[in-house]
């Protein structure tokens, strides 16, 4: 009977005049109201601007400037929902339209000087600013970030790092102004992570002083080349170089693939990679070269050259080292991906946490108000550890950016290993967090306009490009092993990569852990170091035992991947903890430092709770593991009052978040159904 009554009421309301809210309110007293978390939550007890400063450092002003540029242009599709304006690409448009919009947004930003000096200014500040630009626009649309990344970091970076003065003079300025649009033709259908196996072949013709690039078979077609399908005029082509019958290995060449009018050049064939699960605003393409001739000067010759008469010249005799030098530009790609993944993770969390602070479900007792999602311990457990981890990993990504832009010859190895570790760890965390945010927002998480669900497919590719995450993890372990083996051989203490703790005695873990012990930096450091040390030892033992049995190193590394990946994670987690402690040390005692302490404890505790290696290898006894598990819940309830302030400190303007982060009832009200997507709130709010 109640149901019938309810239906009648609903129908009556449909039939009745809608402009009579007063009478509606009298009869249906239980309407759900939206209350902004800003009013219902306690005021932040720490300075959210100061916390944002720790996350974004020097880049805050530049980030905010780019937000300003994006928010003020119709090209970024401003839409009003619930009295607020949001910007977001129109994903409902066709792939071709999305690609065109990406290019138009780039033109808009370029015309306003947003890219000035990206390649022509030198020094750490200029490089940092490049990261900031690509990452910030990526928060609006991953395609826009990637399109810029390919052009500036990959194409531009290849010219900078693999080229010499003659290339810099000729190409950098026109690249910055987009007279030249670059792409990066490395991956082939048959070869991705294994760059050294690519099959594109280049010969030299001394009579005309030209190189001739050939795609010898279908598996050698260039694949996934961002920018190639529609817009790029030039490509850096990776190819084997055969001189006088000798294959000198992989080299990079500049080839023009389109003329200024966008026509594909003779002896080049280009096809589209087609529609993808995300990133459709980037025109990934495939390229075949049919004996394409390019001038001799187009070899990027920083490590090797070919003389006019066809002699191969290289300062680096060892092809392995030559190859390593070639791959330097990929590191900047990894840095962008790692930092960019934290950026969107923060967007997802800000939306999901804000929603959980305004959305209610179920009453605990009859006639009581329903409970806020975030006040359920289970919901806290879903989101708050991810917030803490995101803070930890964001500090690590800042650290990575900094060591990258300040790199020197002696630190390049560290940059390489750290960028591999963090690229994998951060992007995995990003995808996992977005999935959790999607679920935590329930059905609303499925709507594209609310971002959290959609971001998953847009960012999924991060786990693959610039090095498959699993492959990267194994590479880290190999690098670590090399370090300790070398130190032992020289009979010297281990130095670098944060491995110095190996020179000290093995840390001792208390047999009965307490809550307070779990929260000390000493214990946290000890157990993370113990895990890394032990796994490194186990890995080393297994490798040397197998070597003793006569197995080849290549074979050994393919079969020891389990422990190698455990070790990769242990290295990465210990590194992240260290950077967190370094950040904390810069903050004076007070409420901000206290919150950082809570976040760090949550970070370390959740790692111990979730990574099976702590139990598998016995760093935690089952009793201690139970203490850890309990501590997670305690930390959740202690972080709960800070939830709003913690996502506020991420520093995103409202326009970058989704409607469910704010008044989702107004955003979905009947009155909003008829309104067209009016643009500026100031014009419409008041009317």
């Amino acid at each position: 009977m109640d149901r019938v009554d309810f239906r009648t009421k609903v129908l009556t309301r449909h039939l009745k005049n809608h402009h009579n809210p007063a009478t509606d309110l009298l009869h249906i007293g239980q309407c759900v109201n939206y209350s902004p978390p800003e009013l219902s939550e306690p005021r932040p007890d720490f300075n959210t601007k100061a916390l944002r400063q720790l996350l974004d450092g020097e880049s805050v002003d530049e980030i905010d400037y780019i937000f300003n540029l994006m928010i003020q242009s119709d090209l970024f599709c401003p839409r009003e929902r619930g009295g607020k304006v949001f910007i977001s690409p129109d994903f409902n448009q066709s792939m071709e339209h999305q690609r065109e919009m990406t290019m138009r947004r780039i033109d808009y930003l370029r015309e306003r000087g947003a890219f000035d000096g990206w390649l022509t200014r030198k020094g750490p500040d200029a490089e940092l600013s490049g990261f900031t630009r690509a990452i910030t626009v990526g928060g609006f649309d991953h395609s826009l970030g990637i399109k810029l990344g390919v052009h500036f970091f990959l194409w531009g970076g290849a010219i900078q790092f693999m080229g010499t003065q003659r290339h810099h003079d000729k190409w950098l300025k026109p690249t910055e102004t987009y007279e030249v649009i670059g792409c990066f033709a490395m991956t082939e259908l048959g070869h991705g992570s294994n760059v050294r196996g690519i099959e594109t072949m280049t010969r030299y013709d001394a009579s005309t002083q030209e190189f001739i690039i050939t795609t010898p078979c279908e598996s050698a077609q260039k694949y996934w080349i961002g920018g190639a399908a529609n817009h790029a005029t030039h490509a850096v082509v990776f190819s084997q170089l055969k001189i006088n019958g000798v294959n000198q290995g992989v080299h990079a060449f500049i080839a023009q693939i389109r003329d200024a009018n966008g026509n594909i050049c003779p002896n080049v064939r280009i096809a589209d990679c087609g529609h993808k699960i995300g990133l459709n605003g980037v025109d990934n393409g495939r390229i075949w070269f049919d004996n394409l001739r390019i001038p001799r000067e187009n070899l990027l010759n920083s490590v090797a050259d070919v003389s006019p008469d066809g002699q191969y010249l290289s300062a680096i005799k060892n092809p392995d080292q030559r190859f390593a030098a070639f791959l330097a530009p990929l590191i900047s790609g990894r840095v962008t991906i790692a930092a960019g993944s934290m950026n969107i993770t923060k967007i997802g969390l800000a939306i999901a946490v804000r929603y959980s602070l305004s959305r209610r479900a179920f009453s605990i007792r009859p006639n009581e108000p329903e409970v806020l999602l975030i006040d359920y311990p289970s919901h806290q457990r879903r989101l708050l550890p991810l917030v803490a981890k995101t803070y930890a990993l964001s500090f690590a990504s800042e650290y990575l950016k900094n060591i990258y832009v300040k790199r020197a010859r002696e630190s390049i190895k560290t940059v390489h290993v750290v960028s591999s570790a963090l690229k994998a760890t951060l992007t995995w965390h990003g995808m996992r967090t977005l999935q959790e945010c999607r679920e935590a927002c329930g059905g609303q998480g499925l709507k594209t306009e609310n971002h959290v669900g959609h971001l998953k497919s847009e960012f999924d590719v991060q786990l693959t490009f610039e090095g498959d995450n699993n492959v990267l993890m194994q590479q880290i372990s190999k690098a670590l092993l090399k370090e300790i083996v070398a130190a032992k051989r020289r009979n010297k203490p281990v130095k670098g990569l944060g491995l110095e703790h190996l020179n000290k005695p093995e840390p001792i873990i208390p047999s009965h852990l307490t809550s307070s012990a779990l929260r000390t930096a000493q214990f946290q450091t000890d157990i993370f170091c113990l895990r890394e040390r032990d796994l490194l030892h186990r890995f080393e033992t297994e490798v040397s035992q197998r070597e003793a049995q006569g197995e080849t190193r290549e074979h050994i590394f393919t079969v020891t991947y389990q422990i190698a990946e455990d070790l990769g994670r242990a290295f990465s987690d210990r590194l992240v903890l260290q950077t967190f402690l370094d950040v904390e040390a810069t903050v004076p005692a007070g409420s901000l430092k206290n919150v950082l302490g809570l976040l760090r404890s949550m970070y370390t505790t959740i790692v111990m709770e979730e990574d099976a290696s702590f139990l598998r290898y016995g760093y935690l006894s089952t009793d201690n593991a139970a203490v850890v598990r309990k501590e997670v819940l305690k930390l959740c309830s202690e972080l709960r009052p800070h939830a709003l302030a913690l996502v506020t400190s991420f520093g995103f303007p409202d326009a970058l978040l989704g409607p469910i982060a704010f008044n989702w009832i107004d955003a979905n009200a009947w009155s909003s159904v008829k309104e067209n997507n009016a643009v500026f709130p100031f014009l419409t709010n008041m009317l």
């Binding site: 800003e38 009013l39 643009v679 500026f680």
Partner: protein, 377 residues
């Protein structure tokens, strides 16, 4: 506080008409007026008998701004804190109006500048007419666009807000309607009829009010032939630049291509304005774009207190001397050039004041903020 004749009130059943009544000073807002306005607006919000508030000015202006010369006098006689007190009251009123729950119709006849914009633009309906003149002229005075201007200017289309805020450009009624500062344009001869009609309708329903105003309005008032609104593209290209220096150099590049009166006026007005004012104004508008109105006013209060204290620059006092007191129109700014105003100097205007008696602006508590009033940054 005893009622003042500087603010008059007309009652007509459920409608209250507030009249700014200091015509000799073009209704410039005195502390007394601000206090009285706060008082009546608070009163009317609680009073179920009040449904609609109409606001207008006596004489030929709506309101020419805050009474700055009085503020300067106070400061010269006593302490900068007297100035701070004035602005804390004014900004709290601006916030109250921006988050007001009942509709306010402002009839903007004649001049609407600075503080006058602050008591009208935040309201729901802004009705302009044939002789309306709007401007935020503060940068010429050594101040910056305050009263929540960093909120409403930053929300105009593209970078028009930067243009209006930095140059002090004057907009007429048609331009205000076109850019969104006004919601309606009603020809001068129909304004009093509109007022009567609103009183007669005696309604607080925004839709009904809007329909009534619509009946009297000209939906498409013609922009004058040389309207700056036709220059939106150029404004957008130049005023979107990151720094004031880059904005000026972009304008100069445009001038090289196509020099005309408007562009040379624009460049001149930037060169005449206080360099410090220009830099803090630009940053204020850019930050305001990412903030809610409460945060905008809180930040502006920090800025205005820093200006009043005059520790880093005394341009405000110099501007008032040159434009309001001595009227030689030749202010000597210090620092005198944009390049002498460093980022560090700008930063100081945005930080909390280092003074033990000073506090951040206290916004009046609101029980139910509209979502556009809140921003998280």
């Amino acid at each position: 506080m005893a009622p003042t004749n500087q603010v008059l009130i007309k009652e007509s059943s459920n409608v209250r008409t507030i009249i700014l009544n200091r015509p000799k000073q073009l209704n410039a807002l005195s502390l007394e007026m601000i206090s009285r306005l706060s008082e009546v607006f608070h009163l009317y919000e609680e009073d179920p008998n009040v449904k609609l508030i109409i606001m207008k000015g006596e004489g030929r202006a709506f309101c020419a701004g805050g009474d700055v010369s009085a503020v300067v006098n106070d400061i010269n006689k006593g302490s900068w804190k007297l100035g701070a007190n004035f602005f804390s009251k004014e900004f709290a009123l601006n916030y109250f109006l921006a988050t007001y729950t009942k509709p306010q119709v402002s009839l903007l006849r004649g001049i609407v500048m600075g503080g006058g914009a602050g008591v009208s633009i935040h309201g729901r309906f802004r009705v302009v007419t044939d002789n309306t003149v709007f401007a935020m002229p503060e940068t010429a005075l050594g101040l910056f666009p305050d009263v929540g201007a960093s909120y409403y200017l930053s929300r105009l289309h593209g970078f028009f807000g930067e243009y209006v805020g930095l140059t002090g450009a004057r907009l007429d009624g048609a331009e205000m309607l076109a850019c969104g500062l006004a919601t309606h344009f009603v020809p001068l001869e129909k304004l009093s009829l509109l007022e009567d009609a609103l009183c007669k309708a005696n309604s607080g329903d925004p839709k009904i009010i809007s329909n009534i105003i619509n009946k009297f309005s000209n939906k498409n008032p013609k922009l004058k032939e040389k309207s700056q609104y036709f220059r939106l593209k150029t404004i957008d290209r130049c005023f979107s630049r990151r720094t004031v220096e880059e904005i000026i150099s972009a304008l100069e590049k445009e001038a090289d291509k196509n020099m005309d009166d408007w562009i040379s006026w624009t460049i001149q007005s930037l060169k005449k304005a206080s360099p410090t004012s220009l830099k803090i104004s630009l940053r204020s508008i850019r930050e305001g774009r990412l903030q809610g109105v409460g945060q905008c006013l809180t930040r502006e209060y920090r800025m205005v207190c820093t200006v009043m204290r005059g520790e880093f620059s005394r341009d405000f006092f110099e501007g008032c001397r040159a434009l309001l007191l001595d009227k030689d129109k030749n202010p000597k700014w210090k620092p005198s050039k944009l390049e002498l105003v460093s980022n560090d100097m700008v930063d100081r205007y945005f930080a909390a004041l280092d003074d033990k008696d000073w506090e951040d602006l206290k916004l009046p508590a609101r029980s139910n903020l509209p979502s556009y009033a809140i921003s998280k940054l």
